[in-house]
């Protein structure tokens, strides 16, 4: 094994341990403190705020097509509750805009 392979293995090892550590410690720590009312509210707000934080900059970077896609996804979800269909609507909207303009 040469040095570069060793470096790669060390990196993979540390990132693996660190990532698993983050996943598990978040859960274990929240178990300890979740009885507090305020922390409960905080934890309940995490999923939607994480998702929104994830998508907002990307959608806005996409410009008008991104905003239109989000709008159509909202309508589609409201009418059909079908996640797969909503995904198709969003992807097709952005694909058309990218290929036309």
């Amino acid at each position: 094994m040469n040095n570069y392979e060793l470096y790669a293995l060390i990196i993979i090892l540390f990132v693996s341990i660190g990532t698993y550590g983050l996943r598990l410690s978040g859960l274990l720590l929240s178990d300890k403190i979740s009885n507090d009312g305020k922390i409960r509210i905080f934890l309940d707000y995490l999923p939607p705020t994480l998702l929104l934080s994830f998508v907002t900059p990307v959608v806005l970077r996409e410009g008008l097509a991104g905003i239109l896609a989000i709008f159509l996804i909202a309508i589609c979800m409201h009418k059909t509750k079908n996640i797969f269909l909503s995904m198709i609507v969003g992807v097709v909207t952005v694909a058309i805009s990218r290929n036309l303009f």
Binding site: N3, Y4, E5, Y7, A8, L9, I10, I11, I12, L13, F14, V15, S16, G18, T19, Y20, L22, R23, S25, G26, L27, L29, S30, D31, G37, K38, I41, F42, L43, D44, Y45, L46, P47, P48, T49, L50, L51, L52, S53, F54, T56, P57, V58, E62, G66, A69, I73, A74, M77, H78, I83, F84, S86, M87, G90, V91, V94, A95, R98, N99
Partner: protein, 232 residues
Amino acid sequence: MNVNINISSDFINGAKANTPIGLSVFAYGAVLGMICAQKGVEIYQLTLMNVFIFAGTSQFIIVDMWNNISEIFTIVAAALLLNLRYFLIGASLNRLFKKSSMKDKFIYMHLVADENWAVTIERSKHENITPLFLFGGGICLFTIWSTGTYLGYIFGGFINDPSKYALDFAFIAIFTALCFNLYQDKRNLIPWLFAALIAYISEYFFGGNLYIVLGAIAGSLVGVVLEAKKYE
């Protein structure tokens, strides 16, 4: 007996529920596999990353910096910074694991990715599910992701431009759809808007991926401030 049937059906349902999002996970994996082949990453190294790291964005960062592989600290720090959100994701799974043993927590948490987490959280608002739903989704994504990376590695170039078909937008579309399903009432509006705003501003100023964590913390804190009164 009945319990067993319920448990295994949770696993299957979790796998099924993650199949649609698998389309974009596959495309994303194929792109990573392609880059790995170009950068000279060995198949066994790709496999180790898929199995033990199992976090797409940080795998991309590592492979991206592959030419400077001797900068161990920089690469590890960059990858873990990207994965900071998993701490919050883990914390938000607290209700789902309420009745689970320590052993279950240790086993099931490894295969938690953005996608099966989001699908599970959304489903748990409407149905009573166990962590096996999450785990079934994890196994499904792991299979699709790995297959994508290997096919990309071997047949590199078969999706020569995923962005042309907006496949990169599929994640965003699904996450948005899942998020809309989590909406309860107008009390959610201000914290949600705040999260989006802070995420946008911090992405604009800092770049990187820290904006996800910053936006989520800011929005959730606003939620606490607005709703905490009823607990006093």
